[in-house]
Each structure stands twice: as C-alpha cells, then as structure tokens.
C-alpha cells in the first residue's frame, strides 16, 4: 500500500511517461486514445478561455477575473469524473469545471462583468454559482449531500476550494458534519500553493490532506497537474460517495501560474525561479508529451483542438461584450420570492424619480 499523502498519486510524469500504479491505473482503464485526446482538448480549451477572459479584463470589458492558469488538469480531471446528476459546489476560479459541466461560455463572465451576481441557472448544469466567501460552499455541498443521502439518490456531491479555505471554520465544520452523517461528498482542495500572497505553509504546517485523518476521513494527495491521476482519484472518491461509503478528501497539488486575480501582482510575493520550476510541470505540456510518446498527435487532431478552443473563446468574448446592461429597476428584483412592502415602496419611488428625467432628456434632445 503506497502512502498517498507522502507520495501523491501520479500516472503521468512531467516528461510524459506513464507511471504504473495498479490501484489507480485500473480506475482509468477505459481512457483510451480518443478519451486521452478529449482530455487534452479540455485542457487546451480551458486555458484558451482563461487567456481570453484575462484579455477582456485588460481591455476593460471585465471588472475582474480570477485566472486558472496552471490548474487546468486539477479542474478538468475532477470534473470529468462526475456524472450529470452529481452536483458541484464551486469557488471563483473553477471556470474549467463549469465548462466541463456544460456551462455556456457565452455567459461565463457575466458575474465578472458586473451584469449580475449569477451567470447560469445552477440546476441546469448541477453546478452552483461561484462562492466568493472562501469555504462556505463546503457546508453547502455537505448539506446537499445529506439531502441526497436522505433521498436515497446514488449521486456524489463535490466541493471545490483552495488551500486557504482549509483554514476556515466552515471547511472544518463541513468535514465534521459529513462524517457524522456519512454524507456522499467529495472535498476537492486545489492546493495551488498560495492564498493570494500567503504561502500554503502559513495555512498548514502539514500536508493539507493529512487534516482529514483527524475526522476519520479517507484522504488522498494527487499530482494536480496530472489530469489522468486526478481523474482516477476523483472517480474513486465519487464512487465511494455513490455507494454510500461516505466522504473523501482529495488534495490536488498544483500551482497557480498567474495572479490571484487580475488585480494581483504575484511578483511581490514569489520568486520567478519558483514559477519556472512549476512551468516544467505544466499540465498541458505533460499530456501533450504523453500523446506524443504514444503517437497520438497529428495535425488534423491539433487543428481540431485549436478550432474548438478558438470557437469557445470567441463565444466567451461575444457573450461578454454583447451582454446587455441590466435595467435600473432590476436593482429591486428577486430580493424576496414574495412581495415585500419596503422593496415595493422603494422600487416605486425610484421609478418615479427616474421618470422625472424623461421630460428633461426630451427637452435637451
């Protein structure tokens, strides 16, 4: 039995060679050449989408964006382990998870543009809108899983969060609740080494996955830049959840290559040399090298991937720049699901106030 905390699960080495791990390789036995190529495409699309959104922010079309650069394999590998009726509770960097779950790239930026607090209908894709207060979604995933458990539904719920969130009480409480109620939830921590500027050792002196042991929860550490290994461990965890064996904690060890958000300057808190080390572990390069070794790269395939990525990026761009501004009176909509006299009064007063300008604008025009 390999100690997966001390030795994270890896199925592809940085140079593209496969690692044989009977316990985990068997979980991805069905991933043949076509499926490997699909995974590669997902990674490329995720990066392309992200690059496009960063550009849109720089062009003033988005107020903010949280780049996922470097975390593509952790997100794609885990999201591709999910079934349609599983439910994902995400944080603000999980653009690739959203993409893999079927979120329309044309709406993905809506929140970041400031058009709305939401981007998609959660129940249409079984993915929540991003949680901004870090760690809060761990409890929501746990509660959803408790409900699924009571319903007798054989589904898995997955909570995505970062290394910083593991310092929050809500994640600790979620681990406790999920064990108490045997909730079918997977805690998926993307340890990207930094919580904005704070290095992971400030959050925890021990590997984060080790914390699960205190709750009696099985945990696994995986090379988060290895899409195949992430797929394998997440499949194992979701399977445990679906069959009623309770929660699992996954720590995907990865690296945020870019800034925390487009407002951040990572050169203030980390050395270029460190980033270079991680560049050599790039998740896309890795699977590309594997495909190359196995003779699965050809021009037609690469052109197809490029076309898909460009198309997704174009949809993201047009969805962003063409998104209409909300109407002023939308301000008052959906605060409550039923009428509320205070809101109704304020809406009415503000509508009358706005209407007062109509005549002035007409006179000036």
């Amino acid at each position: 039995m390999v100690d997966t905390i001390a030795y994270p699960v890896q199925l592809i080495q940085p140079d593209g060679r496969r690692v044989f791990r009977p316990d985990y390789t068997s979980l991805v036995r069905d991933i043949g050449p076509d499926q490997l190529r699909d995974l590669y495409e997902d990674l490329v699309v995720a990066r392309r989408m992200d690059v496009e959104a960063v550009a849109l922010q720089r062009q003033g079309e988005l107020g903010l964006w949280a780049p996922l650069l470097g975390q593509e394999a952790a997100q794609v590998g885990s999201a591709r382990a999910l079934r349609p009726d599983d439910y994902a509770f995400i944080s603000y960097r999980e653009h690739a998870v959203a993409y893999c779950r079927g979120v329309d790239p044309g709406v993905m930026t809506r929140m970041w543009r400031g058009c709305a607090h939401f981007a998609w209908d959660p129940s249409s894709v079984n993915v929540t809108n991003p949680a901004i207060v870090v760690g809060s979604q761990g409890l929501h995933a746990t509660g959803y899983a408790m409900g699924a458990h009571l319903d007798g539904a054989e589904i898995a719920t997955i909570a995505y969060f970062g290394d910083g969130a593991t310092s929050q009480g809500d994640i600790a409480e979620a681990l406790g609740f999920s064990m108490s109620f045997n909730a079918p939830v997977v805690f998926f921590c993307q340890n990207n080494q930094f919580a904005i500027s704070e290095p992971v050792h400030l959050q925890s002196p021990v590997p984060i996955a080790q914390r699960a042991a205190g709750y009696g929860m099985p945990a696994v550490r995986v090379d988060g830049n290895d899409v195949l290994a992430v797929l394998a461990v997440t499949r194992q965890a979701t399977q445990r959840a679906r069959e009623g064996s309770g929660p699992t904690f996954i720590e995907a060890v990865t690296y945020r290559m870019g800034p925390h958000t487009t407002s951040d300057d990572p050169t203030r808190y980390r050395a270029a040399a460190e980033t270079e080390v991680w560049k050599a572990r790039d998740p896309i390069d890795r699977i590309r090298r594997l495909l190359d070794r196995e003779d699965l790269l050809d021009d037609v395939f690469l052109a197809r991937v490029q076309a898909t990525a460009d198309d997704v990026a174009a949809r993201l761009r047009s969805g962003t720049v063409e998104a209409p501004d909300p109407a002023p009176l939308d301000l008052f909509e959906h605060v409550y699901s039923t009428d509320h006299p205070l809101i109704d009064e304020e809406r009415e007063q503000y509508a009358a106030y706005l209407a007062g300008f109509a005549g002035i604008e007409e006179a000036l025009s």
Partner: protein
C-alpha cells in the same frame, strides 16, 4: 372549534408538528433538538414521532447547522434550524447574511432558501452571559431575510407554520421569557393575519405603543395601568420586524398623534430608530410629540442581577408615555 390551552413553547411544538406532518421535506435540525427535545423542550417528542432523519441532532457548530441546512434546501428540503440561544448565532452570521439571505437575489430567483431559523432571544430568565441577547436589528438590516417574532401562544403556533411555508428565509425570534405564558386558542382556526402584518393588540386613542415579542405583554400591562389613570393607549404588536407593517402603525398614529416604541434591544440603531424615522416621514403633521423610544441601554447585556434595570418595564413605558403626553 378546538379550543386548547397551550403554553408558548407547547404551541411552537404543536406548530412544528403540523409543519412536519404537512410536508415531508420539512426537517428540523440543531443542537439537542432530538432526544432532549431542545433545551427549552420546543421540539419535545418530535424525533420520537418523526424519526432521526426528520429531526436531526447536529454537531455543535452553528455555521455548520445553517450552511448544511442551506445545502439541504438546495436539494429541495425545508429545514427548520434551531440556534440554541441568541448569543450563539454569531458563528453562523456569515452563512445567514452572506449565503442564505442573498441566494435568491444572486440567482435572480432561480434558487430559493426556504429556511426557518429559530432563535430563542431576549432576557428576563436570569441566564448567564450570551444567553439573553436581542440581535434582531442585525438581521432586519439584511435584505433577503424576513424577521418575525410572536408575542403569544396563538401567534407562535400560526407564525411558525407560516414561516416554514415561506419560500423566503425567516429568522424566527422566540421571546424566551414568554415560553411559559399560556393561552386558549383554536388550533384548527385559520391564522387571522398574514406573516408580515402587525396586529392592534389593544385599541386606544391618546398614544400608541409599538412593541414586539417579549415586550408586548409589558406594553399591555402599561396600557391597563394607564387606563386606570385616565389615558387610553393603543398597543401594536409588530410581529414582523422585516418587513415592518408601517401602514398599521401610521393608521394608529394618525388617530393618537403620539408614538412610543419599546424593545429589549439596545436603543442605538435599533428597530425603534427605524420606526421613529419612518413614522416621522409619514406622519410629520399628525404627530403631537416626537416619537420616543424605550429600549435596553447601550451596554452589553448585563449580569442577571441587573437585567431588571436594563429591560423596559411598564413603569419605563409609562414614563415615556407621560413625556409624550406632556409635549
């Protein structure tokens, strides 16, 4: 017609029982709500009768209770959470104000959070620190939440069922020193009022007292004393703290011309300030005196031996009424 005599606590228990019977998606969750029946016995026998999948004893973690209940609501459940005491709600504050309150707005109506969060609140039972607070203004200040508090057993029975049925999240404050008050009422009658409406608890003509929760019986005794002294006081039981039924208050003030607002919570930036401001806007020319407030002092909730000074009693209310009448 089934007139029953029930204490406030027993009325809540009966209301929760009805809610559990009415909708199998209703679940009760909190600390000690199961076998113990809650520290005030409000959920007594419910776990025995509905099972531990419907009445769930949780770990001691308030944020966990609310956050997990929120997740269950996303799965189609209607959780009723018990926070054991007022002063224990703060660890759950983030989940309540940042998640539960905002999800409907955030998703433009696609997701609702039909949670009822029961909080025994207020003082007067000689409790230790953190067991006697009145945090209602924090929640009334948060858009997306409904905040209510019954003052009598009949309202407790009906309002808890109305809260559970609401698709909006409801903070349900239970005035804990009234748990043992008893009343006769018809448990099969329809509720007189929708959840958001205030009730004129006593009609009068000389001045209006607005109170809610634990202070309503105090206001009614003050009115009885005033009556002996020849002053006719109208008492309004607010019932809903968000939204506030300003129409009912306005109607009363247009008649009496004078308003005193009373609550246990500290006066500064409390509900009384909001009511005074709104009524001043609405009734500026009808008011014969400034709106006065009688509340707790602006101190942390004091030790039990001092709480009788902190809590508004009938004398302090009558003193304010006298000042209003003298203006």
């Amino acid at each position: 017609m089934t007139t029953t005599t029930l204490s406030f606590g027993a009325a809540l228990n009966a209301g929760l029982r009805r809610a559990l019977e009415h909708d199998r998606k209703v679940v009760i969750m909190g600390e000690d709500v199961g076998r113990l029946g809650g520290v005030f016995r409000v959920t007594d026998t419910l776990q025995k009768d509905f099972g531990d999948n419907r009445v769930i004893d949780t770990p001691l973690a308030e944020s966990g209770i609310i956050g997990a209940a929120f997740g269950m609501a996303l799965r189609g459940y209607r959780p009723v959470c018990e926070i054991q005491f007022d002063g224990f709600v703060y660890p759950a504050f983030d989940q309540i104000v940042s998640q539960v309150a905002k999800i409907h707005y955030r998703t433009q109506g696609r997701v609702t959070a039909p949670l009822t969060i029961r909080i025994p609140y207020g003082g007067g039972i000689g409790a230790v620190e953190h067991h006697s607070e009145s945090p209602e203004a924090y929640f009334a200040h948060t858009a997306g939440l409904r905040v209510v508090t019954p003052s009598n057993p009949a309202d407790a029975f009906h309002m808890i069922q109305q809260s559970v049925a609401s698709d909006d999240p409801v903070i349900f404050f239970e005035p804990k020193r009234r748990y043992w008050d008893k009343a006769d009422f018809d448990v099969d009658a329809e509720p007189d009022l929708p959840l958001h409406r205030a009730r004129v608890a006593r009609e009068g003509t000389d001045a209006t007292i607005v109170a809610y929760g634990s202070v309503v019986p105090t206001a009614l005794s003050a009115a009885a004393v005033a009556d002996d002294e020849g002053h006719s006081l109208e008492v309004i039981d607010l019932r809903s703290l968000s939204p506030i039924d300003f129409d009912t208050i306005e109607q009363s003030v247009r008649k009496t011309g004078r308003l005193v607002v009373a609550h246990e919570a500290s006066t500064f930036a409390g509900l009384g300030a909001e009511i005074a401001a709104r009524i001043s806007e609405r009734c500026f020319y009808q008011l014969d005196a400034p709106v006065l407030r009688v509340g707790g002092f602006d101190v942390p909730y004091p030790p039990a031996k001092l709480e009788s000074h902190h809590l508004p009693d009938a004398d302090r209310l009558l003193d304010a009424v006298d000042r209003s009448l003298a203006a």
